[in-house]
Amino acid sequence: MKYFIYIVFFCQFFGHGQDNDSIPIFEYEVNYNLGKALVKKGFVFEYNSNVYYNTSKTEFIENIEKLTTDGNTGVPNVNLFSAGDGTENNVSLFKEKIHLDTYSLGNDVLLTDEMLQMQKWVSTGHMKLVNGRNCAEMVSGFRGRDYIAYVDLTIPVKFGPWKFNSFPGLPILIYDTENKLQWTLTEIRKKSYGNILNFIEEQESYLNSLKKMTLREYVKLYDDTDHGHTLMVSKLSRDYKRENGRKKMKREGFELKFEWETVD
């Protein structure tokens, strides 16, 4: 009887994913707290051995006016935003071992490519109920941050949002140990192949319209322009740009250290 229930469950799940006309979309609530706290929705699905992840636009938790006055100093403060609406687009091409990503920097949204990084998730041996699902606690490090993931081992999905992969099941909750980044599974929906193909076509057309560079080139640009700040104000006098000898700003984004950089 027990085996029969398992068989029915897995048949249902695989049927869910391999319906003639639909595939599952895993929807996440995305929270970043790297400066101005924000929330957005993330959607991830697999099609034709590729994993697609995209998000809705950014919604900042606090209302940010373009021009404000500091309550303490009385000094006017101008808020500048990098290009785009905060939408993220990621494609992991597993056959080609390439990952495509979009980054907003200064006045541009850029498309980068990089070697696909396969992660290693290690079980801590702890189990925890997360969002009503019994999950295994797993840990991994990726580009300077340590992550904890709660994975539902009963659902055979290997991928997750953003650049996460190589899970032994479906990640229900992923967060970094500094509590700055968090992805929480909220829903599993089915979308028709027609919708998926339309999305892929539109995304491809959008990605092709962007300025392209390698991730390494992007990281250099990010470091050299105070994370894009000087690109925003490049039309101003030269004093706006980095003065010689000025220290590079400490990285504060998702990725803090890259595989081509020497380990301290």
Binding site: N33, G35, T73, D85, T87, T102, S104, H229, L236, S237
Partner: protein
């Protein structure tokens, strides 16, 4: 005859030139215009603030106009601002 013609011309020139005079009121106590620029990354929310100053602004209103020009991306009317190595002082 020449004098008769020159006199009204000079008066006219005076009137034209005087129309160009500025009516801006200088604020004697106003010295440096401070503005902070906060740059926020739309994708990640990464944010940091830099302080800028201008010694060309003549009043609080002129300083506010410069900040507004910066906010509007009107860099033609805000290019007098320079990056400051120190934080803006509290007033």
């Amino acid at each position: 005859m020449k004098k008769l013609f020159l006199l009204p011309m000079l008066c006219l020139l005076f009137l034209v030139m005087s129309s160009f005079s500025s009516t801006e009121v200088l604020d004697e106590d106003f010295s440096t215009c401070w503005v902070t620029l906060t740059y926020t990354n739309m994708n990640t929310g990464e944010s940091h603030t830099e302080t800028y100053y201008s010694n060309s602004r003549t009043s609080g209103a002129d300083c506010a106009a410069g900040a507004q020009a910066l906010a509007n991306g009107d860099f033609m009317n805000s290019s007098d601002f320079r990056r400051s190595p120190v934080l803006a002082p509290a007033f």
